[in-house]
């Protein structure tokens, strides 16, 4: 779906859209998003970025064990 990326003067600011995306309560933005494909496109993009970050930041298996082992080794080694 091609959507014009330019917002109109009636659109909420990017800052307001970003805060709304993060859960800030704003009925005006709620209503606007339902009517404006441009702003819907923008907040959808924010969601894709968040999901991408969340997916890619998963830690490797065994991390906890390696951390504890390193700390334990340190505590048994005279400083």
């Amino acid at each position: 779906m091609n959507v014009s990326k330019s917002q109109t003067p009636e659109c909420p600011s990017i800052s307001d859209l970003s805060a709304w995306h993060d859960g800030e309560d704003c009925p005006a933005v709620d209503k606007h998003i339902q009517e404006c494909r441009r702003c819907k496109h923008i907040v959808d993009f924010f969601g894709r970025v968040d999901q991408t970050l969340a997916d890619s930041m998963q830690p490797p298996s065994g991390l906890n064990q390696r951390i504890v082992e390193r700390c334990t080794q340190m505590s048994t080694t005279p400083l």
């Binding site: 970003s18 970050l53 890619s56 930041m57 830690p59």
Partner: protein
Amino acid sequence: MSKTKDNLSDADVIDRFKKGDKEVFSILVERYSTRAYQIAYGVLHSREDAEEVAQDVFVRIYKALPKFRGDAEFSTWMYRIAMNLARNKYRWNKSRGAKQNISIQATRENNDDSGPGIQVSTPELSPDSQAELSEFTNTVMREIQNLPPLYREALVLRNVEEMSYERIAEVLDCKLGTIKSRIARARDELRKRLES
């Protein structure tokens, strides 16, 4: 009635540690290692570097915990250490001209220590959609690295278990409005770069 391991607050754990029960340290590791790793990975975009930083965070904490006074919550303290160490590592890499070598071949099933890579598995998607998603993932992560550090750090923290703006402001020692603005600018900058 003594508390079980899961019922111990961070303050309880720290108190026991200070009294000599070093084994309880693993509770803090279990609770916070993922978040330390996520902060480091978000800043550094290298699995190897992120693990090194995550380990260093807890080594620092292990050494400093006996003197921890609890002026701030333990989690805030941990987030600050993680962000500082990740920032230092980022600068060190930058000064050495380190190149990011990103592989998106690995899936979450192969979630091991085989080296740097973004691990995304979406088996419900078609191969074409997978490729498109991988390209998007790769581009997003690369462009996050190119954001101004202040924007990148705020956005990364926001994505660590959906940290609240208030907590991010506390960790980065900024005003709430500044955090809101930095996160919005980070997203807007990414959008412009990715959709241009």
